[in-house]
Each structure stands twice: as structure tokens, then as C-alpha cells.
Symmetry: C3
Subunit: 295 residues, 3 copies
């Protein structure tokens, strides 16, 4: 993909190591002190699917930087129901804003939006496609919690088939010296296209927990299953697992969780999933400044 990420953040494929270094440095700087470099700027949060977490994160990122946000969450009740195409909506809204944060249930929505927009588009999730800012914040969390990205043993556990978060994160991790372990039932294995020859696949967390530096757990994406598919699968990280794990393990989850990590683990200092939310705010601040901060 030759589209520069400063023009539109569509996929993790757009980011090379120096880009990531730059974004993470910027996130570091913006996380301390409150400068307001985006005063007078605005973004539109255009969400065709609800996502309080992601829309609030961008909203907070923008207002902390001094900018303002036009939230459009009720898309199904708006012009779209009058038969307007996504392209026309984008070409209308671009007049009102410096950037568009787009969440859409169709995988091709981002591409269609980018093809007509004169302002930067940020993909905040396109159906079964990508959610690149989530992947970047996951990577940033790892780098902050472990002070670097190389030499780590990373275990990804859960629904590795449908989780776009996991797909995007694996792509980013490939740029670093990282060993990846995959833990899932057979039916929810990582698609072959994302698999790398050094990866190992497992059915039980116990097989890898002792060596793991980063344990990344995801939710079963029931809403992305086809109706016929019924998988009887539940898993969760237990206190026993944590007892076997390293003292400096980092336990991550993109949230919301629905039982994969019990509440009793929240007080374990290795549980990083709420710190992950905060890191996400800083990464999104960095992206916004990088995309619309210069005049």
C-alpha cells in the first residue's frame, strides 16, 4: 500500500519502524504536560457502528490537544437513511473538519472514504478488516511496559481467527525480534496468511505461560461468527496461570472483556489492560498531531 499514513491511517501495513519510533516519541512527549497544539482544529467522529471506547478515546485525545470534536454516532437515523452514499457523506463532512475518524461495518468503507476525501481519514475499525490505531496502542503498551520491543516472548490467546486486533498486532510485531506463541482452539486458529514459520501453536496456556513476557488475551468475537457456527469454547486466565508466570509478565486485553480475565486479577500489578487504555489515548494524540498538527 503506497498511501502515506499522514494522508490516511488505513492499515498497519503503512507503518515502518521509523514511523513507529516517531509516533511513540510524540506520544511520550504529549503524555506529559498539557500543550494544546490543535486549538482551532476539529475532527468528526463518524461511527456507523457504536464503540464508546474508541470514540471516547479519540474525543478525549482531541480535546486534550485543544481541538474540538463533532460526534456523529446516530448515523442510522441520519442522512444515510435518506439514501445517501458513504462517498457523498464524506464529501459533505470534509467541509466541516480537519480529519475524519471513521468506524464502519463494511470492510471496503475506509478505502471508499479515502478515495474521495480531501482531509485525512483515520480508520477506527472497518468490519472484519483492520483497526490500526488499536494495534499501534497495543505495541506502544508493550514498549512502555517493557521498555523496548526486542527479545520478547509474546503469547496471543483467544479467538485468533476473527480478532482483527490480533491480526494487526502480529503484523507489527514481525518488525521486531519477537517470538510469538498462539493459544486457541483449532476452530479459532490464526489464519494461515498471518502465520510465521517461527510461531508455535498451542491448545493450552500452560504450555507457554512460564516463558511468556507478554500475554495478550482477546474476547470471543461472537458478533462476527456466522449464525451456523456454534463453538463451545470458553477460556480464561486464572490465578494459577499467573502463579506460573514471570514476575514481570505484562497481561493485556483490548477490552471489553467478558470473562477471559477474572476481576480478581485486576489488583495484580502485572495486569496492564487499564494502563493500555491510557497508552491508547497518548498514541491517538500523537496520530492526531502528526496528521493535522501542521498548517
Amino acid at each position: 500500500m503506497s498511501l502515506p499514513w499522514r494522508r490516511a491511517v488505513v492499515s498497519v501495513d503503512q507503518f515502518k519502524k521509523p514511523d513507529i519510533d516517531e509516533i511513540f516519541s510524540l506520544a511520550d512527549r504529549l503524555s506529559v504536560g498539557r500543550t494544546m497544539p490543535l486549538t482551532g482544529k476539529s475532527i468528526i467522529n463518524l461511527f456507523y457502528e457504536p464503540s464508546t471506547r474508541t470514540s471516547s478515546s479519540f474525543h478525549a485525545a482531541m480535546t486534550r490537544l485543544g481541538g474540538s470534536v463533532i460526534p456523529i454516532n446516530e448515523v442510522n437515523y441520519s442522512s444515510v437513511t435518506k439514501g445517501e452514499t458513504l462517498e457523498d457523506t464524506i464529501r459533505t463532512l470534509e467541509s466541516f473538519t480537519d480529519a475524519l475518524v471513521l468506524r464502519h461495518y463494511d470492510e471496503d468503507a475506509t478505502e471508499r472514504a479515502v478515495s474521495v476525501s480531501s482531509v485525512p481519514i483515520i480508520n477506527a475499525g472497518n468490519g472484519a478488516g483492520e483497526h490500526p490505531t488499536q494495534a499501534l496502542l497495543d505495541l506502544y503498551t508493550i514498549s512502555k511496559e517493557r521498555d523496548g520491543l526486542n527479545g520478547l516472548n509474546v503469547t496471543l490467546m483467544g479467538d485468533l481467527k476473527h480478532g482483527r486486533t490480533v491480526h494487526s498486532l502480529t503484523k507489527l510485531l514481525r518488525m521486531y525480534d519477537v517470538k510469538i506463541n498462539l493459544v486457541s482452539p483449532l476452530e479459532l486458529s490464526l489464519p494461515r496468511s498471518y502465520l510465521h514459520k517461527n510461531d508455535t501453536e498451542h491448545r493450552e496456556l500452560g504450555e507457554v505461560i512460564a516463558d511468556t513476557d507478554i500475554l495478550y488475551v482477546t474476547r470471543v468475537q461472537k458478533e462476527r461468527f456466522s449464525d451456523e457456527l456454534e463453538i463451545d469454547f470458553s477460556y480464561s486466565v486464572t490465578r494459577s496461570d499467573m502463579n506460573l508466570a514471570k514476575k514481570n509478565l505484562v497481561l493485556m486485553h483490548p477490552l471489553p472483556r467478558v470473562g477471559e480475565i477474572p476481576i480478581e486479577l485486576d489488583s495484580d500489578p502485572r495486569s496492564a489492560y487499564f494502563r493500555q487504555v491510557k497508552y491508547g489515548l497518548h498514541v491517538r494524540m500523537a496520530l492526531l498531531v502528526a496528521l493535522i498538527g501542521r498548517d
Copy 2:
């Protein structure tokens, strides 16, 4: 309750006379001139129940002070439907904001939110529980309209059983030298736990109107009745009542009204219910500054 109100505004029980004096003085100061002490700060309006009046009041209070607001009104369409607990939602959103204004249909929601939140929570109504900022603005209205809170004869009329507004207000009024008259049908009497030995109970406004300084009327809270309970009860303040009342009576209502006060009384200078809305804005500005104004 030992929780300091600067940490979380949960109940009127947290406020002593000096606290109230301080908040009201601050409200006085903030109501004149437009300073923006909360520039760069933000709140989240997290409303599980819709309430345009209350959410708009906080929104306006925050923006007048220079801050910004992340409105989350469509909670039922968001992460919550993915099965997330209130506690996880709070722990996520606290990363994005300096305070959370929470409206919830469950009475225990505020307590649960406070138990996990690292930022101040403001209870904007928790089911049949409390609505402390409404009670504070009611008290502030009385103090502004009568230039003080002692020596007053206060009549509370309407659904005194279900109206949380009335319950909270009576608690606050007990701190001052105030005579309270209660006017309601038997089925909607003030619960015994809120009753004080000097209070008098009545079925007709006519019995007390001539002596009343403050007449506080509330709406029948039909949505809080159980289905079986059918009360054939309607009441309203009439022109005749007003003719019998004092020249400096203060007529209040938390709004919305549904017939308890006819429109023809709006032009009576003693009708204070729309001024009450404005006083509410100033009280909420004061609370926001008190909670998140210092660094």
C-alpha cells in the same frame, strides 16, 4: 458516609453547613463574569438514562468554565451491550477525563462506580436513590430568592413518596431553622424515615398556603410506580392559591411539569422555576470547579 464530597458527590449526607456556604459563595462568584478556570479539563457525561435537562446543565456548566465534555448518552447501544460491567466501563473512561457525571437506573451504580474510579464521580441521579446536585440547586435557589435560609416556612407538595428530589431537599433543609409542611395524598406521603417531629402533614394546599414562604411542587413520578399501583391523583397550584399566598412567596418546581403548575402562572413574578434552572447551572459550575479546578 465518610467519603469526602470533593472526591465524589454521591449524597447530600456528605455536605455540612460550611461546605454549602463555600459552594454557594463559589456559585455566586462564577455566575458573574466569564472566567475559564477549567480550560484544558474535561468531563464525561455518562448517562444510562436519558435526561436532557441534567446532562445539558452539566454540559453548559463545563463549557462556560472553558472545559470540554464527552457526552455518552447512547449507552445501551455501546460496549455495555457487549457485556461489559459498569466497573470496567468506569475504569476505561477514567483514563479519558477529569471527572465522570453518572446517571444510572440502578441505585447501587454510584457506589460501584466510586469504588473503582480514580477520578471524581458526580451522581446525577441513581434510580430511586439520590440526585444531590438537584437538592443543592434547590437549596441555592431558596437562598438566592429569599436572601438566606433561616426562619422560612417551606411547603413541599406532590408525590412525596417517590420524589428523590424532595427526599434529598428535606435532608438539607434540616440543617437550617425551617418549618416544613407536607401536602400530598395519603398514598404518596413522605416516607417515615424522612419525617421530622415538627413537620405537619396536610391533604390540601389551602391549609398552609397563607403561611408559606417557599412552595416546592413536584411531579407525580409515574415511571417509578409499580405496575399494580394505580393512584387517581391530580393536583395543581391555582390562581386562587396564589391569591391567598404571600407577596414574596417563591414557587419552585424541579421540572418537567405535567400540569402541576399551569402556564398562566409563568408570568407571576413569584414563579421561580425557570430561575431555578439558571441557579442550577451556577451550582454545577461551582461543584465542577471545587472538584477538578485545582491541579
Copy 3:
């Protein structure tokens, strides 16, 4: 109508030529450079009918000027369902804001709101009534695209019966030396009250396209038809039409379009409908500054 437009923007009938000159000059000035004359001011977008385009336009206009916006879009889920009248809602919300932008499905809503409000009201569409800011932005678009408003041949095409946009625009155009052509099926003709003796009515665009300077196309307002009325009517501007048209034709549409103008015409420089959106932003900025910019 004797109501001054600086008090409330209700109808295009309030605007005389000098008013329009003033607003357009202000729009010109505000469109270049980013001054923030409305810092510390706020508006409420009170939308009883959804309209992403209009509400976003006002939202963007306000934030570009440094002000803030309280969006109330979910009116049907709010106090109104507790039985509150529009008048009470207005008298409540006026305490929170410097102006109210009102969209309502009832034609008499604007008048009722104005009758009780102490802050300026801007009519953003009142049922089958008016949408004056749309008409002003249409006129501004014409003046910008053609550098003036006199001596033009203007063709209005589409549903001229129900389109309030067209009704308001014709009123404004009457103030200038403009020839108006009307193209529509008989059932959707311009109501006689809007017709002027010099207007000509047509069934086919081909009869007037060659002489047209401004071609204004509107959508069939299906949602305003009564259920019984079934009109089998479709029309669209074609490439052939454009080939017959002047080199400096201006093709306009209030959007959303549903086939009246095919996408293939978007790249024609004479297609002005997306520039029209931008002009709308500038006109609304001008109106906001004119209404609430002075202290």
C-alpha cells in the same frame, strides 16, 4: 414579519438586500483566517428531526469561531417523553446557552419557541415550513460562483411543490434581477403563491438548459408525501444536458441526492454542490457572529 433577524432567524422574509450584503460580507471575511470571536459562547443544537448535514454544519461553524456546542439529538428519548411542552424545554435550555438552533417536524414550532425564548432562535427547518439558512447559503453560493446576483437565468428543477428549500430560495431571488425557469412534472409544480408573472414553467430540462446560468436541482421529498399520493417520477441531469449547457453553468443541489445528479458529473468543474456545503459553513458562521458575537 416585524421580528428582526438578529433576534431570531425564522424566515427569509426577514432579510432585505442590505442585510444580505452584510451577512455575505461577513461570511467572506470569516472564511479566510481563523479568528475565534465566539470563544466562551455556546449554542444548543436542538434537533427533533435528525439532520446530520445541518447539525454538523452549525457545529463546525460554532467551533471554528471558538465557541462550543451542546448537541441534543435524541430528543425523543428525553424529557419530551415525560410530557414536557416545547415551550418549557426552550425556557429551560435558554439558561444554558447563547442561542438555540432548532429543527422541528412541526411548522409552528419555531414561532412557539421564539415566543418564549430570551436568546436568539435559528430555524434549522420547521416541517413543511422554512429552512432560511439553507436559502441564504444557496444564494451565497450563486453570488460567489458568479460574482454577483443580477442578470442571471436560474432554473429550478425537481419537486418544486414540497421542497421548502426551493420556496425560500425563490423568495430571495425575487429581490434581484433574475429570470426563473421552473422544471417539474405537473403534480410537483411550484405552488401558485410562490409563482411570479415572469417565471416560465417547463416539463423538460432541454427546453431551458442552453440559456441557464444556475441549475438548481432538488430531491423528491418522499417523506413529505401523503401515503396515498404515488408519483411515478424520476429525473436526473445527464451528460448530454451538460453538453448543451453554458461553459460557466453552476450546477447546485441541497443534498442529499438520490440519483438526480449522477456521480459521473462530480468531476465536471461546473458541479458546485460540494462547494455549496462549504459556502454554507461560512454563511452560518456569519449568522452566528451577527446574532451572538456582540456582548
